[in-house]
């Protein structure tokens, strides 16, 4: 009992420390605020990917689709509230948006809600297509969806095709805007974390873990696997849609291939972050995201020009040689810290004798 008390106190203390650090960081390191903002985006990416890939065993390479979809849905809603979207995009930014703060915030909130709902709808629609595919076909199929979405949006005149859309600028000081989005992403990431933390403690979490371990057996035990898979995919989409909507506004300018459906910039790193930290664990994706982001920013600063080569090598190394991730490695090393009881493995034949 006392041990459990100290453990929960320790966890609470850890959360408190992280919260304090996160709140004072943008004021303390105001020169790095954009990097810190993207850090929370990365944390959110890793957690939502891990719900699919780590906890349910469905390795999606196309979750970035919902990020881009949310971004575009929100942009169309925000612009559409006050302008004709087709006319606006056809002007290539010649129409200057000058929103009052009220217009801006209502647009942002409404756009984000519609983006989240829209992403969930897309998830339900796409689940018909993707969930019949297993293993590598699922990965290739979802990658195909993300790439196809980028190409199609890039050819769609209504949303500005390849030249993208510029979104309304934050009303107020640029510094205030940066801080606003920092805390928006921080809150989004924290909400995502606690939501999935709660989810993994319920029967739902057990069910998706059962699907990961053996889908046929899970189905035979009466778990409606298709329903669980669809809901998990939709939950991922919900948070990614919100994140996409916020990121579009944070970035001010959105474009299909490099910002919205950015497979190489965001889509694949989602997977790598989860693997790096340890997939299928609660903290793994968070640690992986922080580590990945730090490495990414460091390569940007010190190996400019070679940064993508370095990141490609990082993908290969983490996937091929270090797939259990940091959490997996730590669990192997100090199992008692994680409350895992290691049974002495019975010697060969001993079990049969007994």
């Amino acid at each position: 009992m006392t041990l459990a008390m100290t453990k929960s106190q320790r966890t609470l203390g850890l959360y408190g420390l992280i919260a304090i650090a996160a709140v004072i960081a943008p004021f303390l390191f105001s020169a790095y605020i954009s990097q810190l903002t993207v850090l929370w985006v990365m944390v959110l990416f890793a957690i939502t990917w891990d719900a699919m890939g780590g906890q349910m065993g469905y390795n999606s390479l196309g979750n970035i689709f919902f990020f881009g979809a949310g971004m575009y849905i929100s942009a169309v809603v925000q612009i559409g509230l006050h302008y004709d979207v087709a006319e606006y995009t056809a002007a290539y930014g010649a129409i200057k948006v000058d929103f009052t703060p009220t217009q801006y915030y209502t647009g942002l909130v409404l756009g984000t809600i519609v983006a989240a709902v829209g992403s969930v709808l897309f998830a339900f629609l796409l689940s018909w297509v993707v969930f019949g595919l297993r293993g590598p076909y699922f990965a290739i199929g979802t990658l195909g969806i993300a790439l196809a979405a980028g190409e199609l949006v890039g050819a769609w005149e209504y949303v500005g095709a390849g030249s993208g859309i510029s979104l309304p600028v934050f009303p107020g000081e640029p510094e205030a805007g940066e801080r606003f989005f920092y805390f928006a992403f921080f809150v989004a990431a924290v909400l995502t974390f606690f939501f999935f933390r709660w989810l993994y403690q319920t029967r739902f979490g057990l069910a998706i873990n059962a699907i990961r371990d053996d889908e046929e057996k899970a189905e035979a035990m009466g778990i409606h696997t298709m329903r669980y898979k669809t809901i998990t995919w939709a939950l991922s989409a919900f948070f990614l849609g919100i994140c996409g909507s916020l990121f579009g506004n944070y970035n001010i300018f959105i474009e299909p291939l490099e910002v919205a459906f950015a497979t190489v910039v965001f889509g694949i790193p989602m997977v790598v972050m989860s693997l790096l930290g340890g997939k299928g664990t609660l903290w793994g994706p968070v640690i992986g995201a922080i580590l990945y982001h730090v490495i990414k920013e460091a390569t940007w600063k010190y190996f400019l020009g070679w940064q993508w080569v370095a990141l490609g090598l990082l993908i290969i190394i983490s996937v091929v040689f270090f797939q259990q991730g940091i959490m997996g490695w730590a669990q192997e090393k100090w199992p008692e810290l994680f409350g895992i009881e290691v049974e002495e493995a019975p010697a060969e034949g001993e079990e049969e004798a007994a």
Binding site: N59, L61, V129, G132, L133, R134, G135, P136, Y137, A139, I140, G141, G144, I145, L147, A148, E151, L152, G154, A155, A161, G162, E216, V264, I268, V271, V272, L275, G305, W306, W308, V309, L311, G312, L313, L314, I315, I316, V319, V320, F321, Q323
Partner: protein
């Protein structure tokens, strides 16, 4: 869009043009797809760097074809050790150069990466090869820059039926692709190594028991794939365009073809590749050039869905 389709109906000769272009490009797709089928079937590795091998072969050919100043130094920086003038040659001569280079590159990549992912789950191989693809793209981008390039073969064009233009290089590359494919098939059928590869594909354990060094067979298979892709890349660089980031489209084409045709079905691969080439030309013409990539990726999803519907009839665990 409708105008273009009307155009096809009014002038049937355009159909012939698109069809011929599609077939000639499809023959090259078939080469890369056959390489993928080989690696997939023998080693059960899904290589997402397939298109990057193609583009890499293309860039080597392009590099040989231009008059260039060879600068030995560190790419991305101004550090130079020494410089020498290199005269350009016809890119057709690049073929015997590219094949051994790409074979060696495949061997290197096998021993650095692929060796460790063969026994692992399939997602690992997908992601690891995708990482390799990013590295290759970016290194090519650093060396050659992001511009679209073509290797000039210096051959002319002919006009058939008054309005169908045929570039001689396309016909030549069709013939070369045919010869290469025939050589690979003969090699797989008759040579000792070809037999070992087929034996390993059927049952690696039994092959090992019979004294086949399966590790060497895997290395050879992967290198052979890289060499085939490199050769395809040389042809692509002459009849089409290359760019450091065009590899992913070629990878997806290979996947579309292999998934649609099935593994170990060589005639199927060839027919599907021709079909894909023609379909892509038609799609690009009817919908507009900006949709050509979307057509390719859209076909991937269509093929996967169709495959899924076909398999739903007798549900089984898919490897």
């Amino acid at each position: 869009m409708l105008n273009n389709i009307q155009l096809l109906i009014d002038f049937p000769v355009f159909n012939l043009q698109l069809l011929l272009d599609g077939l000639m490009i499809g023959a090259i797709f078939a080469l890369a797809a056959y390489g993928l089928a080989l690696v997939w079937g023998v080693m059960n590795v899904k290589n997402l760097a397939q298109g990057e091998f193609v583009i890499m072969g293309g860039y080597i050919a392009y590099y040989l074809s231009i008059d260039a100043v060879v600068r030995i130094g560190i790419p991305g920086t101004d550090i130079t050790f020494f410089e020498v003038m290199k005269p350009g040659v016809n890119p057709l001569w690049a073929l015997p150069v590219v094949i051994p280079i790409m074979f060696g590159f495949g061997w290197l990549m096998y021993f650095l990466i692929i060796r460790y992912v063969i026994d692992r789950d399939l997602f690992t191989s997908l992601l690891a090869t995708f990482g390799a693809a990013i590295v290759i793209q970016q290194v090519l981008n650093l060396i050659f820059g992001p511009d679209v390039q073509t290797a000039e073969s210096g051959l002319g064009t002919r006009i058939l039926f008054g309005s169908v233009t045929i570039q001689e290089i396309r016909v030549l590359s069709l013939i070369i692709a045919g010869i290469l494919a025939a050589l690979v098939v003969l090699f797989m059928k008759n040579s000792r190594m070809g037999q070992a590869i087929r034996a390993t594909a059927q049952d690696p354990r039994a092959a090992r028991v019979m004294g086949i060094d399966t590790d060497r067979v895997y290395a050879f298979t992967f290198s052979l794939n890289a060499a085939i892709c490199g050769a395809a890349g040389v042809l692509i660089s002459m009849i089409w365009v290359i760019q450091p980031f065009y590899g992913i489209a070629h990878s997806i084409r290979s996947f579309v073809i292999v998934v649609a045709a099935g593994l170990g079905n060589l005639p199927g691969v060839i027919v599907t590749a021709f079909g894909l080439g023609a379909l892509e030309q038609y799609g690009g013409f009817a919908l507009g050039a900006e949709f050509q990539q979307a057509v390719v990726v859209g076909l991937l999803i269509v093929v996967l869905v169709v495959r899924q519907i076909m398999q739903a009839r007798h549900r089984q665990v898919v490897r």
